[in-house]
Amino acid sequence: MRLGIVLLFWVFALNIYAQTPVDSAITLQEVMVLGNFEKQFLPGNDIIIPKATTLQFYHSDNISEVLRQQSSIHIKEYGNGMLSTIAFRGTNASQTTVLWNNFNINSFTLGQMDFSLLPTQAVDEITIIPGSGSSAGGSGAFGGSVLLQNQVDFNAAPSITISQQVGSFGQYSTSLNAEGSIRKLGFDTRLYWGKSDNDFEILSTGEHQNNAYFERKGINQSLGYQINKNSSLKAALWYNDNFREIQPPIGIKRNTNNQEDKNFRSTLNYQYSGNRSKLSLGTGFFQDEMVYRLDQATSYFKVNRIESFADYNYHLSDHHQIKFSARHNAIKAENESYNGGGAEEQRYSLGLQLKGRLFRNELEYALHIRQQMVQDVNIPVSPYIGLSVPLIEQNNYKLRLKANTSYNYRLPTLNDRFWNNAGNPELNAETGWNKEVGISSEHYLQNVKLNISVTAFHNLVDNWIQWTPDAQGTFRPRNIKEVLARGVEASINFNTPIAEVLHFKTNLQYSYSKSTVEQSERNANEIGTQLIYTPLHKANGDFTLQWRSFSLQAFQQWTGKVYTTNTNSEIYALDAFFLTDAALAWEKRSWRFSGRVNNVFNTDYRVYAGYAMPGINYQLSIQYQLNFNK
């Protein structure tokens, strides 16, 4: 109901403003990226920004689909649309940070992110930075960081886009996106609602999946105000409400458990840009709530946080700049399973970043150092050094070398520290030393474009926290393992016209991630074995063929065998699988129609042991965009 009112307000406001002539001077302002993560402070890293067409393809899905199609990321999914956790470069689910508008939104109780709670349609831009490190991504950025942004564009004319999707197993998804600017006000509004009965046929038994319904609704609203030439203000709010029944393993019929997650995130940013300096101040209030129900029993927790930061950026010269940053995060959790029914934690951090160009501006460098402080937790200083050097630079051929190394940390979670009769407030932070080197080339031949990149990484994670039973059989978290993750990531981007109106694009990726336990205080049999649910090999590719108003897209992924036990028993291993999703779309003026087929070859596969995934299924979508004059 309330969402309806907001929507009405926007349509009403736009109609009025659409008629008013706007001062053209304002259009000179840049796109404002507040609360910026400063991607440009990471010259030694690969940065993956999935294309808008990919986000369009997976519009009604979770961002996990985009991540696994566009990077070496493997997503562990406990059934279709269920809890989805990340494995990035052979690290575990808590060792990748997810930031929205520069604020960490991983669960503070579990430390990980459930990617089934992040719909693609809620965000404007996704950036994947493998191996970004803690000095930029904060606690837990071992595998890398996933950045979600909702930007405000002060230049764009207002528009409203309405999408409707229907799909197999009672799937519906509706979304509305209003964006653009009116005078000094820029906005981006996203409203979404979706559900799925999710009673797909289990290919191995022929039965229909029970207890797997899910539904979600939410709003993501950003508002920017250009105060004057130098300063601006931005407020953003994201509320996501997700209800799901919990899909049981195949053949289990009595389960009646369900879970509801409510995530409220709000941020306020002020930015001032001077001649040589930039000041960015931000604060945010976040609330994560979860209720789990099984029969008459419920578990509930709530975490409230207020996080604030101040960044000051100063250009020392034309080629060098320095940035100071300070951050504070006040966390308060309510959880009956904690000692005293709750927990509080204060986190502070200070950082210094330096970046610039040397040797006739050819070598890009960045140096960072960051120190986080939490009472009773031993946290190391986190430095980063990154370099990017052009080796060959010609008109039609470029070759670049990138390298970086960083020392990273991950704080123990609230569960690790405060769980009743098990948690240990004095656990050490996990530490990780990441080293990587990559080479990337760009080739141009008339309209043909080819990019190739290969990166090798070596990441040694120590003080790895794991819950293991003690002598009394009580599970307790301890810093007990050392894990070495190393591997290679390769990608090829190829773009060519075939005829005047026919265009072909492809993006291929392959990754090899070997992640093995080097030391374990608990289980000698796991030493040298591959980490569970971490495929050694993974490959994915997407192909787009564009002809006039039509486009044909195919997304394919091959995921190698994964082990599900630390000792790598073959009988519990999950087989490799190959999946194809394809869509045909027609787009003209304001309309877009598309039909999509998922799992084209009806493959029976498992992402998590015992849980079914759907076979071939279909989706139809229609989209209409309403444009207004600026």
Partner: protein, 343 residues
């Protein structure tokens, strides 16, 4: 519509029978004298297995049980009863009892019913099975409606309910009495005695903490193994505890009888107590066991088997000791080895 469903089911049942009978001829038969190792499997992992171990060859077959091409019986294999020529596997997660042929370890039938909710253990008298059943969770994951379900083993269907107090665990029939321990993670420390002639609860007595397994000695006397460190002999007729042996310290809630002695695992020590004299003898120290989960003595030769659950989700470890404490073999088995069955 309903009829069609039934027909479908009947067809499926016949079809699977043909299918599985077909497979049986090819599946390797367990060696004579082999030890079956029952694995609980990971919680919600649906990967419970039965492995077989040949003590002579020291060889372990992880997939002794196969249903079609899958070695997985279901979710959380809580306990298995060997009765005549069958195994009755109680699946706490799948909410069913799977009946398996002992000779070829072939799937025979499933007992499934709405009433079966988190079952724990089964025992059999004649053609009636008695299944302890936790029932649904109440608030804060307490139990509200535990019971014993009776199962007609001629049709493999649930035939009735015996209402009990909550937290029913192990079941054992002695004479015409059904003995039921009640525990539920220490919420209860009781023994319920039911007359199976009329299926009525006769008594519910309090025991020392942690009553788990019920074992019967050579003289036919039932003993309750209490993980708090006590062995309690029960007079099932009078419904009383007649003898309590204090083992001075917590033990694994699974013990075993060999000749006239009860063997048990206390910390990393294997000990035995003489039933007649009550004398406790410490036999030997085991290797460091992370998560003691299964303990049994081979009735053929007195060898001792110990299952280590490690971290509950990993390949468990099995240790085999000679009667005098020599480590004869150790190997990685399935997830959570919980029970040993000797032919």
């Amino acid at each position: 519509m309903k009829k069609l469903n039934l027909l479908n089911k009947a067809f499926f049942a016949v079809f699977s029978l043909i299918l599985f009978t077909g497979c049986d001829d090819e599946s390797p038969k367990p060696e004579t004298g082999s030890v079956l190792i029952i694995h609980e499997g990971g919680f919600n992992g649906k990967n419970a297995t039965i492995g077989s171990y040949d003590p002579d060859l020291k060889s372990y077959n992880a997939n002794a049980f196969m249903k079609g091409s899958s070695p997985f019986i279901g979710d959380v294999q809580q306990s298995v009863l060997q009765h005549e020529n069958s195994l009755y596997s109680v699946l706490n997660g799948s909410n069913s009892v799977e009946i398996i042929g002992l000779e070829n370890l072939n799937f025979i039938a499933s007992v499934e019913d709405e009433m079966i909710d988190k079952p724990r253990a089964i025992t059999i008298s004649g053609t009636t099975g008695y299944l302890s059943n936790w029932g649904p969770y109440g608030e804060n994951f307490s139990l509200t409606d535990s019971n014993i379900l009776t199962i007609d083993l001629t049709t493999n269907t649930v035939s009735g309910t015996i209402d009990t107090e909550n937290g029913v665990e192990d079941v054992e029939i002695v004479g015409n009495k059904l003995l039921v321990t009640r525990n539920y993670y220490g919420a209860y420390q009781n023994l319920t005695i039911i007359n199976i002639d009329n299926n009525e609860v006769e008594k519910d007595i309090e025991l020392p903490s942690g009553p788990q397994e019920i074992i019967v000695d050579r003289a036919g006397n039932p003993w309750v193994v209490c993980s708090g460190g006590f062995l309690v002999r029960i007079d099932e007729e009078q419904g009383t505890a007649v003898e309590t042996i204090d083992l001075s310290g917590a033990i694994l809630g699974e013990a075993d009888i060999y000749s006239n002695e009860i063997y048990f695992l206390q910390e990393n020590k294997v000990k035995k107590v003489n039933i007649s004299s009550g004398e406790i003898i410490s036999l030997f120290n085991t290797v460091d066991i992370t998560t003691p989960y299964a303990f049994a003595v081979d009735p053929n030769n007195g060898e001792i088997y110990i299952g280590d659950g490690v971290d509950y989700s990993d390949g468990g470890l099995v240790y085999r000791y000679s009667a005098n404490g020599e480590l004869l073999d150790d190997f990685i088995s399935g997830i959570l080895p919980t029970q040993f069955i000797f032919n």
